[in-house]
Protein backbone atom coordinates (compact mmCIF):
# COMPACT_ATOMS: atom_id res chain seq x y z
CA UNK A 1 0.00 0.00 0.00
CA UNK A 2 1.49 3.31 -1.09
CA UNK A 3 1.65 6.04 1.54
CA UNK A 4 0.07 9.46 1.12
CA UNK A 5 2.57 12.29 1.52
CA UNK A 6 1.81 15.64 3.13
CA UNK A 7 3.69 18.85 3.87
CA UNK A 8 3.92 19.79 7.54
CA UNK A 9 6.73 22.34 7.57
CA UNK A 10 8.05 25.19 5.43
CA UNK A 11 11.17 27.33 5.46
CA UNK A 12 12.51 29.92 3.06
CA UNK A 13 15.42 32.28 2.56
CA UNK A 14 14.49 34.42 -0.43
CA UNK A 15 15.81 37.71 -1.83
CA UNK A 16 12.52 39.41 -0.94
CA UNK A 17 11.98 37.81 2.46
CA UNK A 18 13.78 35.61 4.96
CA UNK A 19 11.39 33.39 6.90
CA UNK A 20 7.84 32.39 5.99
CA UNK A 21 6.07 35.48 7.37
CA UNK A 22 8.36 37.99 5.64
CA UNK A 23 8.22 36.02 2.38
CA UNK A 24 4.40 35.76 2.56
CA UNK A 25 4.17 39.53 3.06
CA UNK A 26 6.43 40.11 0.04
CA UNK A 27 4.43 37.68 -2.13
CA UNK A 28 1.11 39.27 -1.19
CA UNK A 29 2.35 42.76 -1.93
CA UNK A 30 4.45 42.11 -5.02
CA UNK A 31 7.68 43.21 -3.36
CA UNK A 32 10.85 42.72 -5.39
CA UNK A 33 14.10 41.58 -3.79
CA UNK A 34 16.27 42.62 -6.72
CA UNK A 35 19.01 45.19 -6.10
CA UNK A 36 21.98 46.76 -7.83
CA UNK A 37 25.31 45.23 -6.75
CA UNK A 38 28.41 47.41 -7.11
CA UNK A 39 30.59 44.30 -6.90
CA UNK A 40 29.15 43.09 -10.23
CA UNK A 41 29.66 46.49 -11.84
CA UNK A 42 33.28 46.60 -10.63
CA UNK A 43 33.86 43.22 -12.27
CA UNK A 44 32.48 44.47 -15.62
CA UNK A 45 29.32 42.38 -15.55
CA UNK A 46 26.73 43.28 -18.18
CA UNK A 47 23.98 42.50 -15.66
CA UNK A 48 24.75 44.29 -12.39
CA UNK A 49 21.52 43.43 -10.57
CA UNK A 50 20.59 40.33 -8.60
CA UNK A 51 18.68 38.90 -5.69
CA UNK A 52 20.56 38.24 -2.45
CA UNK A 53 18.66 37.37 0.77
CA UNK A 54 19.43 39.55 3.76
CA UNK A 55 20.83 37.37 6.54
CA UNK A 56 22.25 39.24 9.52
CA UNK A 57 25.13 38.13 11.71
CA UNK A 58 22.68 37.65 14.58
CA UNK A 59 20.50 35.43 12.42
CA UNK A 60 23.50 33.26 11.43
CA UNK A 61 24.44 32.82 15.09
CA UNK A 62 20.99 31.35 15.81
CA UNK A 63 21.55 28.48 13.39
CA UNK A 64 25.30 27.85 13.46
CA UNK A 65 27.82 27.50 16.30
CA UNK A 66 30.80 29.86 16.53
CA UNK A 67 33.02 26.96 15.53
CA UNK A 68 30.90 26.23 12.44
CA UNK A 69 31.08 29.89 11.43
CA UNK A 70 34.87 29.98 11.73
CA UNK A 71 36.24 30.22 8.17
CA UNK A 72 32.71 29.68 6.85
CA UNK A 73 32.20 31.05 3.33
CA UNK A 74 29.44 29.13 1.56
CA UNK A 75 26.29 31.18 1.04
CA UNK A 76 24.30 28.26 -0.38
CA UNK A 77 24.89 26.11 2.70
CA UNK A 78 24.02 29.09 4.90
CA UNK A 79 20.69 29.66 3.13
CA UNK A 80 19.94 25.94 2.88
CA UNK A 81 20.48 25.25 6.56
CA UNK A 82 18.40 28.24 7.70
CA UNK A 83 15.47 27.31 5.44
CA UNK A 84 15.65 23.62 6.34
CA UNK A 85 15.95 24.11 10.11
CA UNK A 86 12.99 26.51 9.92
CA UNK A 87 10.94 23.87 8.04
CA UNK A 88 11.86 21.22 10.61
CA UNK A 89 10.89 23.45 13.55
CA UNK A 90 7.76 24.67 11.73
CA UNK A 91 6.54 21.08 11.56
CA UNK A 92 6.86 20.81 15.34
CA UNK A 93 9.56 18.15 15.29
CA UNK A 94 12.08 18.15 18.14
CA UNK A 95 15.86 18.40 17.73
CA UNK A 96 17.43 15.65 19.81
CA UNK A 97 21.14 16.05 20.57
CA UNK A 98 21.61 12.42 21.55
CA UNK A 99 19.37 10.26 19.40
CA UNK A 100 19.54 9.43 15.69
CA UNK A 101 16.20 9.60 13.87
CA UNK A 102 16.35 6.69 11.42
CA UNK A 103 12.88 7.53 10.07
CA UNK A 104 13.90 11.00 8.86
CA UNK A 105 16.26 11.95 6.04
CA UNK A 106 17.00 14.76 3.64
CA UNK A 107 17.33 15.26 -0.08
CA UNK A 108 18.62 18.79 -0.35
CA UNK A 109 19.83 19.90 -3.75
CA UNK A 110 22.26 22.45 -5.09
CA UNK A 111 23.93 23.35 -8.37
CA UNK A 112 27.37 23.90 -6.95
CA UNK A 113 28.52 24.42 -3.40
CA UNK A 114 30.68 27.10 -1.80
CA UNK A 115 32.10 28.73 -4.93
CA UNK A 116 33.65 31.54 -2.88
CA UNK A 117 35.18 29.05 -0.49
CA UNK A 118 36.53 27.16 -3.49
CA UNK A 119 38.02 30.37 -4.90
CA UNK A 120 39.76 31.04 -1.58
CA UNK A 121 41.18 27.51 -1.63
CA UNK A 122 42.42 27.78 -5.22
CA UNK A 123 44.32 31.00 -4.46
CA UNK A 124 46.01 29.31 -1.51
CA UNK A 125 46.79 26.19 -3.53
CA UNK A 126 48.33 28.11 -6.42
CA UNK A 127 50.43 29.94 -3.86
CA UNK A 128 51.74 26.50 -2.81
CA UNK A 129 49.91 26.78 0.55
CA UNK A 130 47.87 23.56 0.39
CA UNK A 131 48.89 22.83 3.97
CA UNK A 132 47.14 26.01 5.05
CA UNK A 133 43.71 25.14 3.62
CA UNK A 134 42.56 23.97 7.04
CA UNK A 135 39.81 21.49 7.73
CA UNK A 136 36.85 23.44 6.33
CA UNK A 137 37.31 23.33 2.55
CA UNK A 138 35.95 19.87 1.82
CA UNK A 139 32.69 20.11 3.78
CA UNK A 140 31.84 23.50 2.30
CA UNK A 141 32.72 22.72 -1.32
CA UNK A 142 31.46 19.16 -1.71
CA UNK A 143 28.16 19.11 -3.58
CA UNK A 144 26.50 17.31 -0.66
CA UNK A 145 27.79 19.89 1.85
CA UNK A 146 24.33 21.25 2.59
CA UNK A 147 22.74 17.85 3.27
CA UNK A 148 25.78 16.81 5.33
CA UNK A 149 25.47 19.91 7.53
CA UNK A 150 21.73 19.28 7.96
CA UNK A 151 22.20 15.62 8.78
CA UNK A 152 24.42 16.61 11.67
CA UNK A 153 22.32 19.51 12.91
CA UNK A 154 19.15 17.40 13.04
CA UNK A 155 20.50 13.91 13.71
CA UNK A 156 18.98 12.49 10.51
CA UNK A 157 19.44 8.74 10.16
CA UNK A 158 17.57 7.96 6.95
CA UNK A 159 18.91 8.85 3.49
CA UNK A 160 21.03 12.02 3.57
CA UNK A 161 21.92 13.20 0.07
CA UNK A 162 22.05 16.04 -2.43
CA UNK A 163 20.54 16.01 -5.90
CA UNK A 164 21.53 18.25 -8.79
CA UNK A 165 19.65 18.92 -12.02
CA UNK A 166 20.39 22.59 -12.73
CA UNK A 167 17.32 24.81 -12.42
CA UNK A 168 14.94 21.89 -11.84
CA UNK A 169 16.90 20.75 -8.75
CA UNK A 170 14.44 21.96 -6.10
CA UNK A 171 11.34 20.52 -7.74
CA UNK A 172 13.19 17.27 -8.38
CA UNK A 173 14.23 17.06 -4.69
CA UNK A 174 10.58 17.32 -3.63
CA UNK A 175 9.62 14.47 -5.95
CA UNK A 176 12.54 12.29 -4.82
CA UNK A 177 11.59 12.74 -1.16
CA UNK A 178 7.93 12.15 -2.03
CA UNK A 179 8.75 8.83 -3.74
CA UNK A 180 10.80 7.69 -0.77
CA UNK A 181 7.99 8.27 1.71
CA UNK A 182 5.34 6.95 -0.67
CA UNK A 183 7.27 3.70 -0.95
CA UNK A 184 7.59 3.36 2.81
CA UNK A 185 11.37 3.89 2.92
CA UNK A 186 11.12 6.90 5.25
CA UNK A 187 8.51 8.61 7.42
CA UNK A 188 9.84 12.12 6.97
CA UNK A 189 12.06 13.74 4.34
CA UNK A 190 13.36 17.28 4.56
CA UNK A 191 13.52 18.36 0.93
CA UNK A 192 14.46 21.49 -0.96
CA UNK A 193 17.41 23.18 -2.54
CA UNK A 194 19.77 26.11 -2.24
CA UNK A 195 21.98 28.27 -4.40
CA UNK A 196 25.03 30.43 -3.70
CA UNK A 197 24.98 34.10 -4.66
CA UNK A 198 27.57 36.24 -6.32
CA UNK A 199 29.82 36.80 -9.31
CA UNK A 200 31.61 33.45 -9.27
CA UNK A 201 28.35 31.60 -9.75
CA UNK A 202 26.58 34.15 -11.96
CA UNK A 203 29.54 34.99 -14.24
CA UNK A 204 29.02 32.06 -16.58
CA UNK A 205 25.43 33.11 -17.23
CA UNK A 206 26.46 36.73 -17.80
CA UNK A 207 28.97 35.51 -20.40
CA UNK A 208 26.20 33.57 -22.16
CA UNK A 209 24.22 36.82 -22.38
CA UNK A 210 21.16 35.14 -20.87
CA UNK A 211 20.90 37.70 -18.04
CA UNK A 212 19.33 41.09 -18.74
CA UNK A 213 21.66 44.08 -18.94
CA UNK A 214 18.94 46.66 -19.58
CA UNK A 215 17.71 47.36 -16.07
CA UNK A 216 20.86 48.18 -14.11
CA UNK A 217 19.43 51.58 -13.14
CA UNK A 218 15.99 50.25 -12.12
CA UNK A 219 16.72 46.86 -10.53
CA UNK A 220 13.26 46.05 -9.19
CA UNK A 221 11.90 46.30 -12.74
CA UNK A 222 14.54 43.95 -14.16
CA UNK A 223 12.83 40.58 -13.80
CA UNK A 224 10.01 40.67 -16.37
CA UNK A 225 8.59 37.18 -17.00
CA UNK A 226 5.93 36.95 -19.73
CA UNK A 227 6.46 40.62 -20.59
CA UNK A 228 6.93 42.13 -24.06
CA UNK A 229 10.10 43.75 -22.76
CA UNK A 230 11.56 40.60 -21.15
CA UNK A 231 15.22 40.56 -22.10
CA UNK A 232 16.85 37.85 -20.02
CA UNK A 233 16.69 36.66 -16.44
CA UNK A 234 17.93 38.35 -13.28
CA UNK A 235 20.07 36.06 -11.11
CA UNK A 236 18.88 35.26 -7.61
CA UNK A 237 19.93 33.05 -4.71
CA UNK A 238 18.61 31.56 -1.48
CA UNK A 239 16.88 28.37 -0.42
CA UNK A 240 13.48 26.80 0.08
CA UNK A 241 12.64 23.79 2.26
CA UNK A 242 9.62 21.55 2.83
CA UNK A 243 9.15 18.92 5.48
CA UNK A 244 7.44 15.99 3.74
CA UNK A 245 5.83 13.38 5.90
CA UNK A 246 3.64 10.33 5.53
CA UNK A 247 0.02 11.18 6.28
CA UNK A 248 0.03 8.52 9.03
CA UNK A 249 3.01 10.06 10.77
CA UNK A 250 1.56 13.58 10.51
CA UNK A 251 -1.81 12.49 11.92
CA UNK A 252 -0.15 10.51 14.68
CA UNK A 253 1.83 13.60 15.73
CA UNK A 254 -1.25 15.82 15.30
CA UNK A 255 0.90 18.02 13.08
CA UNK A 256 -0.57 20.92 11.12
CA UNK A 257 -0.83 19.81 7.48
CA UNK A 258 -0.35 22.56 4.90
CA UNK A 259 -0.89 20.57 1.73
CA UNK A 260 -0.57 17.18 0.09
CA UNK A 261 1.90 16.19 -2.62
CA UNK A 262 -0.43 14.37 -5.00
CA UNK A 263 2.21 13.30 -7.52
CA UNK A 264 4.54 14.48 -10.20
CA UNK A 265 7.01 13.55 -12.90
CA UNK A 266 10.59 14.14 -13.95
CA UNK A 267 12.05 13.51 -17.39
CA UNK A 268 14.52 14.74 -19.99
CA UNK A 269 14.18 15.77 -23.60
CA UNK A 270 17.37 13.88 -24.39
CA UNK A 271 18.72 16.99 -26.16
CA UNK A 272 16.82 15.84 -29.26
CA UNK A 273 14.01 17.41 -31.35
CA UNK A 274 14.87 21.01 -30.52
CA UNK A 275 16.29 20.23 -27.10
CA UNK A 276 19.93 21.13 -26.45
CA UNK A 277 22.16 21.65 -23.44
CA UNK A 278 20.42 25.00 -22.94
CA UNK A 279 17.07 24.76 -24.77
CA UNK A 280 14.11 22.49 -23.99
CA UNK A 281 12.63 19.78 -26.16
CA UNK A 282 9.01 20.98 -26.04
CA UNK A 283 7.59 17.47 -26.51
CA UNK A 284 9.38 16.31 -23.38
CA UNK A 285 8.15 19.32 -21.42
CA UNK A 286 4.55 18.56 -22.42
CA UNK A 287 5.03 14.89 -21.60
CA UNK A 288 6.43 15.72 -18.16
CA UNK A 289 3.45 17.92 -17.31
CA UNK A 290 0.85 15.44 -18.55
CA UNK A 291 2.57 12.56 -16.75
CA UNK A 292 2.47 14.61 -13.53
CA UNK A 293 -1.26 15.16 -14.01
CA UNK A 294 -1.81 11.44 -14.58
CA UNK A 295 0.40 10.49 -11.64
CA UNK A 296 -1.65 12.77 -9.38
CA UNK A 297 -4.93 11.27 -10.70
CA UNK A 298 -6.44 14.68 -11.31
CA UNK A 299 -8.30 16.28 -14.17
CA UNK A 300 -6.30 19.09 -15.81
CA UNK A 301 -9.34 21.37 -15.73
CA UNK A 302 -9.32 21.26 -11.91
CA UNK A 303 -5.92 22.96 -11.66
CA UNK A 304 -6.46 26.43 -10.18
CA UNK A 305 -3.00 27.88 -10.62
CA UNK A 306 0.23 27.17 -12.46
CA UNK A 307 3.47 28.35 -10.89
CA UNK A 308 5.58 28.30 -14.04
CA UNK A 309 9.30 28.16 -14.65
CA UNK A 310 8.96 31.43 -16.65
CA UNK A 311 12.39 33.03 -16.33
CA UNK A 312 11.90 36.19 -18.46
CA UNK A 313 13.83 34.99 -21.48
CA UNK A 314 12.55 34.54 -25.04
CA UNK A 315 11.42 31.03 -24.01
CA UNK A 316 8.43 32.20 -21.91
CA UNK A 317 5.86 32.10 -24.77
CA UNK A 318 7.03 28.59 -25.69
CA UNK A 319 6.53 27.47 -22.09
CA UNK A 320 2.95 28.79 -22.10
CA UNK A 321 2.24 26.96 -25.37
CA UNK A 322 3.63 23.79 -23.79
CA UNK A 323 1.32 24.13 -20.78
CA UNK A 324 -1.65 24.58 -23.11
CA UNK A 325 -0.80 21.47 -25.11
CA UNK A 326 -0.07 19.40 -22.01
CA UNK A 327 -3.27 20.38 -20.20
CA UNK A 328 -5.28 19.79 -23.38
CA UNK A 329 -8.31 21.79 -22.25
CA UNK A 330 -10.29 24.66 -23.78
CA UNK A 331 -8.46 28.00 -23.60
CA UNK A 332 -11.13 29.56 -21.38
CA UNK A 333 -10.61 26.73 -18.87
CA UNK A 334 -6.87 27.45 -18.69
CA UNK A 335 -5.86 28.10 -15.05
CA UNK A 336 -4.23 31.23 -13.69
CA UNK A 337 -0.48 31.30 -14.34
CA UNK A 338 2.21 33.18 -12.45
CA UNK A 339 5.96 33.65 -12.16
CA UNK A 340 7.44 34.08 -8.69
CA UNK A 341 10.69 35.00 -10.46
CA UNK A 342 9.23 38.44 -11.21
CA UNK A 343 9.95 39.26 -7.55
CA UNK A 344 13.00 37.16 -6.68
CA UNK A 345 14.77 36.67 -10.01
CA UNK A 346 15.92 33.26 -11.13
CA UNK A 347 17.36 31.59 -8.03
CA UNK A 348 18.87 28.84 -10.25
CA UNK A 349 19.21 25.58 -8.29
CA UNK A 350 17.10 27.07 -5.47
CA UNK A 351 14.32 28.24 -7.81
CA UNK A 352 12.10 25.14 -7.72
CA UNK A 353 12.20 24.92 -3.93
CA UNK A 354 11.56 28.61 -3.21
CA UNK A 355 8.77 28.71 -5.80
CA UNK A 356 7.22 25.53 -4.38
CA UNK A 357 7.22 27.15 -0.94
CA UNK A 358 5.49 30.15 -2.56
CA UNK A 359 2.92 27.77 -4.06
CA UNK A 360 2.14 26.09 -0.71
CA UNK A 361 1.82 29.49 1.00
CA UNK A 362 -0.76 30.53 -1.59
CA UNK A 363 -2.65 27.24 -1.15
CA UNK A 364 -2.78 27.52 2.61
CA UNK A 365 -3.58 31.24 2.75
CA UNK A 366 -5.93 31.39 -0.23
CA UNK A 367 -4.48 34.04 -2.52
CA UNK A 368 -2.76 34.36 -5.87
CA UNK A 369 0.39 36.47 -5.72
CA UNK A 370 0.87 39.10 -8.42
CA UNK A 371 3.34 38.66 -11.25
CA UNK A 372 5.05 42.03 -11.30
CA UNK A 373 6.74 43.90 -14.18
CA UNK A 374 4.29 42.43 -16.66
CA UNK A 375 2.26 45.52 -17.53
CA UNK A 376 2.52 44.60 -21.20
CA UNK A 377 2.09 40.87 -21.72
CA UNK A 378 4.08 39.39 -24.61
CA UNK A 379 1.94 39.32 -27.79
CA UNK A 380 2.82 35.66 -28.46
CA UNK A 381 1.32 34.78 -25.06
CA UNK A 382 -1.82 36.85 -25.65
CA UNK A 383 -2.37 34.89 -28.84
CA UNK A 384 -2.95 31.75 -26.78
CA UNK A 385 -4.36 32.80 -23.40
CA UNK A 386 -6.49 35.64 -22.10
CA UNK A 387 -4.74 38.45 -20.21
CA UNK A 388 -6.96 37.74 -17.17
CA UNK A 389 -5.10 34.43 -16.68
CA UNK A 390 -1.97 36.34 -15.61
CA UNK A 391 -2.85 38.18 -12.38
CA UNK A 392 -0.77 41.36 -12.13
CA UNK A 393 -2.50 42.21 -8.86
CA UNK A 394 -3.13 39.91 -5.90
CA UNK A 395 -6.36 37.91 -6.04
CA UNK A 396 -7.93 36.60 -2.84
CA UNK A 397 -9.17 33.14 -3.76
CA UNK A 398 -9.39 29.73 -2.20
CA UNK A 399 -7.17 27.39 -4.20
CA UNK A 400 -7.32 23.63 -4.34
CA UNK A 401 -4.71 22.46 -6.87
CA UNK A 402 -1.43 24.01 -7.97
CA UNK A 403 0.90 22.66 -10.65
CA UNK A 404 4.54 23.69 -10.28
CA UNK A 405 7.15 23.00 -12.96
CA UNK A 406 10.86 23.68 -13.30
CA UNK A 407 13.15 23.13 -16.27
CA UNK A 408 16.94 23.08 -16.39
CA UNK A 409 20.08 23.04 -18.50
CA UNK A 410 20.72 19.55 -19.79
CA UNK A 411 17.12 19.53 -21.11
CA UNK A 412 15.67 18.26 -17.82
CA UNK A 413 12.13 18.79 -16.53
CA UNK A 414 10.22 18.34 -13.29
CA UNK A 415 6.55 18.94 -12.47
CA UNK A 416 4.78 18.47 -9.13
CA UNK A 417 1.10 18.74 -8.15
CA UNK A 418 0.18 20.18 -4.75
CA UNK A 419 -3.30 19.95 -3.22
CA UNK A 420 -4.83 21.86 -0.37
CA UNK A 421 -5.39 19.56 2.62
CA UNK A 422 -8.80 19.49 4.24
CA UNK A 423 -8.55 18.49 7.87
Amino acid sequence: MKKRVVITGLGVVAPNGVGISNFTHALKNGISGIEFHQELADLNFSCCIGGIPKVTKEKKAKYFTDLQLRNFNSSGILYGCIAAIDAWKDSGLPINDKKVDFDSGTIFGTGTSGVEKFREAIYKLDDKQVRRLGSTVVAQTMASGVSAYLGGMLGLGNQVTTNSSACSTGTEAILMGYERIKNGKAKRMLVGSCSDHGPYLWGGFDAMRVMTYKYNDCPTEGSRPMSTSASGFVPGSGAGALLLESLESALERKAIIYAEVLGGAVNSGGQRNGGTMTAPNSNAVQRCISEAINDAHINARDIDLINGHLTATIKDPEEIRNWIKALAIETNKFPYIQSTKSMIGHCLAAAGAIESVASIIQLKEGFIAPTINCEEVHPEILKVIDISKIPRKRIQKELNLIAKASFGFGDVNACVIFKRFNH
Partner: protein, 84 residues
Protein backbone atom coordinates in the same frame (compact mmCIF):
# COMPACT_ATOMS: atom_id res chain seq x y z
CA UNK B 1 39.70 44.62 -45.33
CA UNK B 2 38.17 43.20 -48.52
CA UNK B 3 34.73 41.67 -48.14
CA UNK B 4 35.81 38.37 -49.68
CA UNK B 5 38.66 37.83 -47.25
CA UNK B 6 36.39 38.89 -44.42
CA UNK B 7 33.88 36.20 -45.43
CA UNK B 8 36.72 33.66 -45.64
CA UNK B 9 37.81 34.47 -42.09
CA UNK B 10 34.23 34.38 -40.88
CA UNK B 11 33.69 30.97 -42.49
CA UNK B 12 36.76 29.58 -40.75
CA UNK B 13 35.57 30.94 -37.41
CA UNK B 14 32.00 29.63 -37.57
CA UNK B 15 32.96 26.22 -39.00
CA UNK B 16 33.39 24.42 -35.65
CA UNK B 17 29.87 25.45 -34.57
CA UNK B 18 27.79 24.75 -37.69
CA UNK B 19 25.38 21.82 -37.83
CA UNK B 20 24.30 22.08 -41.47
CA UNK B 21 27.11 21.26 -43.89
CA UNK B 22 25.11 22.04 -47.04
CA UNK B 23 24.18 25.52 -45.85
CA UNK B 24 27.79 26.07 -44.83
CA UNK B 25 29.15 25.07 -48.25
CA UNK B 26 26.62 27.37 -49.91
CA UNK B 27 27.18 30.21 -47.45
CA UNK B 28 26.26 33.66 -48.77
CA UNK B 29 25.85 37.07 -47.16
CA UNK B 30 22.19 36.22 -46.56
CA UNK B 31 22.96 33.04 -44.59
CA UNK B 32 21.41 33.08 -41.09
CA UNK B 33 23.52 31.60 -38.30
CA UNK B 34 20.70 29.89 -36.41
CA UNK B 35 18.08 29.16 -39.07
CA UNK B 36 20.45 28.13 -41.90
CA UNK B 37 23.68 26.96 -40.30
CA UNK B 38 21.72 25.49 -37.33
CA UNK B 39 24.21 26.90 -34.87
CA UNK B 40 23.08 26.46 -31.25
CA UNK B 41 22.10 29.96 -30.11
CA UNK B 42 24.27 29.52 -26.98
CA UNK B 43 27.32 29.17 -29.25
CA UNK B 44 26.82 32.64 -30.77
CA UNK B 45 28.59 33.90 -27.65
CA UNK B 46 31.64 31.79 -28.49
CA UNK B 47 31.64 32.98 -32.09
CA UNK B 48 31.66 36.57 -30.86
CA UNK B 49 34.69 35.83 -28.67
CA UNK B 50 36.50 34.15 -31.59
CA UNK B 51 35.74 37.16 -33.81
CA UNK B 52 37.05 39.52 -31.13
CA UNK B 53 40.32 37.57 -31.01
CA UNK B 54 40.63 37.35 -34.80
CA UNK B 55 40.05 41.03 -35.53
CA UNK B 56 41.21 42.52 -32.23
CA UNK B 57 37.89 44.28 -31.72
CA UNK B 58 35.25 44.37 -29.00
CA UNK B 59 31.67 43.46 -29.85
CA UNK B 60 29.27 44.88 -27.25
CA UNK B 61 25.94 43.40 -26.14
CA UNK B 62 23.81 45.58 -28.40
CA UNK B 63 25.91 44.72 -31.46
CA UNK B 64 25.83 41.05 -30.57
CA UNK B 65 22.04 41.00 -30.38
CA UNK B 66 21.94 42.19 -33.99
CA UNK B 67 24.47 39.63 -35.23
CA UNK B 68 22.13 37.03 -36.68
CA UNK B 69 23.42 36.56 -40.23
CA UNK B 70 26.65 36.68 -42.22
CA UNK B 71 25.61 40.09 -43.51
CA UNK B 72 25.05 41.42 -39.97
CA UNK B 73 28.39 40.04 -38.82
CA UNK B 74 30.27 41.69 -41.68
CA UNK B 75 28.57 45.01 -40.99
CA UNK B 76 29.48 44.84 -37.31
CA UNK B 77 33.09 43.77 -37.91
CA UNK B 78 33.56 46.53 -40.50
CA UNK B 79 32.16 49.21 -38.24
CA UNK B 80 34.28 48.03 -35.27
CA UNK B 81 37.40 47.96 -37.49
CA UNK B 82 36.62 51.47 -38.71
CA UNK B 83 36.41 52.69 -35.10
CA UNK B 84 39.94 51.48 -34.41
Amino acid sequence: MEKESLITSLKRIVKPYIQDEVAFVNLTKETDFINDLKINSANLVDIVLDLEDEFDIEIDNDAMEKMLSVKDAIKIIESKLAEK
